[in-house]
Symmetry: D2
Subunit: 407 residues, 4 copies
């Protein structure tokens, strides 16, 4: 295998070395290559045209940070065997492999009964079989059944390398520079006590900054109103398409997309190398966009209106408010669309979306960020920080949105 391929040029972290053959084989596997065709931020590129980066690229970046974190912990004297080292790298490389295109949207429409983490795990098991158990440690770390808990925390925790990568990467590609976090400093401050990740107290300001940057990215990027509008529009589009397809209407779609449009998929369909899994790993952004473009001239008024809106950026108009919309306002819009487009009430409702959007930035239940003091004591960041409001940190913030087709 030529040495040249062993370095990946990343505008975020510079040259990224692929540490060994085992990791290289994972990266080359079709399951990971598929992530090259799935954008990390889905419809967000409607708002930030630079945000075209893929889940593949994110996975590589997270592997780079995992490598940095493991090196740092070894230098601090923590024992990490080669098997564990590779296991952690493999686990982070594969952690997103169960994502579909527009993942959160798909989980509300075509792939309802299973979460992407479960699919990641199913795929890891399948690869593990293929590779005669070589992913055993990776799977144990991923599922938190491996004795060294801190390795799992690096893969999935309040300060995992997943978040460290995506915040920096999303900040970089959107151009929202304030979202930049000090990933290198945070990694340098990482240590382990009682098998848990802790952060040296000198790093407390970097952690505060990390939490606030994450929050800024949530509202400025991930929950940007135009991105929410696009997401809701796509949910309605796919829901309508599935409704039509299950009623026997023939819609243009790739075979794998057809499968999810026409069938109501259960959890069981995914297990035991079921056909759902087979079709799932065939899906990516291209299937959705190809279909939307054809559907834009479908005779069904609802489907064509919505698909055309997605394709030609005539997105839902959206209002985000602290209080819920009056029910009567919704009904007024329904009436208007019924008459304007000659639709049934059921159909007209597809041109509207309204609900609550919530985020909680930091959930103590999930797992805490522990700050380690010079005297050996440990405090959760929400207590250690004299700046952040501990109650608010763990409070869910809810806002209401009301989105509807533009005239």
């Amino acid at each position: 295998m030529p040495s040249k391929r062993r370095v990946i040029n990343d505008p975020v972290f510079g040259f990224i070395n692929i540490p060994n053959e085992f990791i290289y084989d994972i990266i080359q596997h079709p399951y990971l290559q598929r992530l090259n065709r799935i954008r990390q931020l889905g419809v967000t590129s409607f708002v930030y045209p630079g945000a075209q980066h893929t889940r593949f690229h994110h996975s590589i970046g997270a592997m780079y940070l995992m490598n940095e974190a493991l090196k740092n912990l070894k230098e601090k004297g923590h024992d990490i065997s080669n098997e564990e080292y590779n296991g952690a790298l493999a686990a982070i490389l594969l952690h997103d492999v169960g994502h579909g295109p527009f993942s959160h949207i798909l989980e509300h429409t075509l792939v309802k009964n299973i979460r992407h983490e479960e699919i990641s795990l199913l795929l890891m098991h399948q690869l593990n079989e293929e590779w005669n158990g070589k992913l055993q440690t990776a799977i144990a770390i991923f599922t938190d059944t491996y004795p060294k808990h801190f390795l799992h925390q690096l893969v999935s925790g309040q300060l995992d390398v997943d978040r460290l990568d995506y915040l920096r990467r999303d900040s970089f590609f959107t151009g929202v520079n304030e979202g930049n976090i000090g990933s290198a400093r945070i990694i340098k401050m990482m240590d382990v006590r009682n098998d848990h990740l802790v952060i040296d107290s000198k790093g407390i300001y970097s952690i505060e900054n990390f939490l606030l940057s994450r929050r800024l990215m949530y509202w400025q990027v991930y929950l940007h109103k135009t991105a929410v509008a696009a997401e809701k529009m796509l949910i309605n589009t796919l829901t309508r398409a599935k409704e039509l397809a299950t009623q026997g209407e023939k819609l243009f779609a790739s075979p794998s997309l057809s499968y999810f449009l026409e069938k109501n998929i259960t959890h069981a369909d995914f297990e035991n190398k079921g056909e759902a899994l087979h079709h799932f790993v065939d899906l990516d952004d291209n299937d959705i966009w190809s279909a939307l473009k054809v559907w834009a001239s479908h005779p069904d008024k609802v489907l064509s209106l919505l698909s055309n809106g997605m394709v030609n950026r005539k997105l839902f108009k959206i209002e985000i408010t602290a209080k819920k919309q009056r029910a009567s306002k919704v009904e007024e819009f329904v009436k208007k669309y019924e008459s304007k487009y000659n639709l049934s009430e059921h159909e007209a409702r597809y041109l509207i979306s309204h609900d609550v959007i919530t985020t909680n930035m930091y959930s103590e239940e999930e797992e805490s960020i522990d700050i380690l003091y010079n005297d050996g004591s440990i405090k959760d960041i929400s207590l250690a920080s004299d700046m952040l409001n501990p109650e608010l940190l763990s409070k869910k913030i809810g806002k209401y949105y009301f989105a509807y087709l533009r005239d």
Copy 2:
């Protein structure tokens, strides 16, 4: 229209203002929005995973630089009317609108008898009709029939804002930082003499740097051997698909892709709002990738081998050499594939690609880069520079490649 949309966040240039309603309407038009679904660098993301940026994003960046260049020229006392200002902005925004997905590949396979510049012009004329002549000046500037020649040079010339944007942008997203050019400095050094763009002699080092960066980007990015291998593989894939389709084989494809697969399109099909143009503006990267994924399990061995290679990154192996490959070597490979995959000779040849790749960095015929000295004299850069080799600057560099399916 909400003011918030009038600013686009660009990781390369920061906030980009959309100057007025007219420009905003162009950006919102489906023709420009389509460019959001066409990657600027096509298959190059096989090598540089960050290179996912779109032709839309490039068009916006080029518009930003055009705006900077026009402001600078006005400040230097050159007369540019509002009509001309908007015309130049519109021309650059629309200059790439005729690109299809994987543009250069398509021009070798499905869309053979017309170049993307011609399609851009056809689409501009169509929009001009739609908008009652509002693009008249833009079209004149684009076609170089407008009296002020220097405006055309900003759109298309040795130092046009097209190149200034794409070199910086491609450098940024690939992470090949040495490709970075001093676009701001070059624009500050621009002036006009005798209706031609000139560069103040203080800027000569920036021009040399620009020419060399361009060269570096050519060999390091645009003609990177893996990218060439992918490009050649995709050409063979589409050629095979078209061969099968014209023979009546039913291939999965979106309606517009089917059109180009099944028909042999002539120049006339594009003119007069012909159906070719209609289908063309429906094509984007998604159609190609969707089809490739389905074709990867097509019964035709050649099509499935090639499509699978594209989808799962089993790209052609490639050798680039100063001398041409021995003919006998090619024939050995043909023989090998015939027996290995049980193919006819005609079919086996699809698994190989070999030819010459050339680039000439700077062609004096095309149009020169003129350097303006303090005494008012003007010299072409190839004479003005004491560093660059003038003969070599305009010499075509040719290399030979031999690409073939990996075992």
Copy 3:
């Protein structure tokens, strides 16, 4: 005057244009040129070797941001006359002109009875006379006696361009990237209501980020323990030097430094073009460092120990704690130094420094950051933010330090 000088190359903001002759003349004046010899962050370069940037560079950057802010406010329809525009630019350019070398250190030692803001104002008045009243508006804006209060807020307020520049610039040159703030976004979100600066509610996350970045910069940079140690050591050094000088000891120093070492300067010495002002504008970092190097071999043990520590980076060792040090510990150190270096108790105390360090990030009394909502209502950020702890935002944070000569 050659046009080339009218652009300043800034690694932070790119090319900065000098808008006109009047501004150019201010920049060229010896008072501003002197700031080229005063580092923005004083002794902080002991910790961050990149932090060598000058108060001159900061002043230019702040002028750039003022220009951006004024342009933005004009575009939003606020009336700003040319006189006001230039006045605001001049005020920000001159706002730091009263800083001496190691400003805060000097204000604790050699220049005790006057603050740098007062000196800035004295110098502005002097320039105003020199220039026949051309700085009248600038002075009125600086002193907040100009009718348009918001112009003063841009010069000196919670969100003034002074802070916007220094946070970005200090973050850039130290390499503490997390300190990066979204200055461009904040400026875009600025508006004016009732003659007060307000921030559009869409910008609330950028403001939170700004406040937290500022806090991070305080603890990570401005109050970094090594920087504090160096600062305290220099205070003791200069205090000892002044003690010796006022006792008639001849110390090497430039004439202007001698003046401040030998005399006890009063506020009156500065007024009416007094000689203090004359000598003050002659002082810069070079006078201090030149003297320290010579003092490092002065026969006075205290002076030479301290000066040598500064010159050769044998800085005070420092402990920063939440609680005050035991008084007995201090006395132990005094005793130790007395015997070790054969010093009197009075002298030995120079080798120690201990006190409290405080910061309050956001003081509501000072002036609030007002957030403007779509419905026209306005809230202070400490109420508008659901994230930041309002009580803590305005609470002074105090820590204790104990610094002492290393063995």
Copy 4:
């Protein structure tokens, strides 16, 4: 020693680790700390206000790159012992230790009979004695008497880490982004054949880019006309000051600067721990600036005019031309100054400077940049590159300048 000090925050390369105690001790030594008070680019900050970075910072950066280069060569299988590794790191850290303030200016005025490389070596020998021979290998590498020649090439050669660092660093701090070179890529492409550094042929474009960036930096930064004007003015100032001092005139100066002003220093004064060396390591930028400020009001008209020009940025006006100035023009200026300032001819000539400035970017005699091809053959870059003009590459470029006091 606390671990926190073992990392240096560098805005150019991020966190730089100090690899071990030995290297740490070198960095802490007064000789290296002195470089903190000597700017890398001397008077260039008159043009680029960001260019305040120090020789210390550059030395640290070069050490970082040396570390990267050595790691890379070890990974490629080249044998480098710990002793050699540390020797190379020490050699590069100390390579600039013999620089004085405004080094090239000083070598034309106060320190004429010895070059900075010789002083570096003298200081290394002195440290070696102090440290009982620990610098033996470093000195051998520095002086190219160590058996492994390629280690010397990394310290001092066409592609040494000295250049790699200063080009990137100077580009970064000046804001001349086009000067950015791909240091990481160049280091990755380094290999060793026959004890000589070679560059893999894939890196040829990076080398071309490196050579051209260097050239751009020369003309845009190092030989920027305003920087040349300032340099020539400072040479005349110091020459005049020395003339006065040797005539017995008492000039304000630190003791060490006085030493060099009053004495005519010979090479012998530097050797055997002579007093010249002792005074030399006491000199830095502060001595020069402190003196200039005082000299600006010295009764000698020539000295005060020139010093005032330096302090208040009334620099020589300069003309740079391809041909030499007419001799008569020089004489006209001399005459003018004689009468205007009432000076003798000898004195008037101090207000003028004229000569030739030359640079040769790449000298084949010095040592070549060798390109290694896949077939094992090696070619010099001037032959390997089809772009760069080989004759011109090694040609000295000479221009004439004529600089004189502004009216």
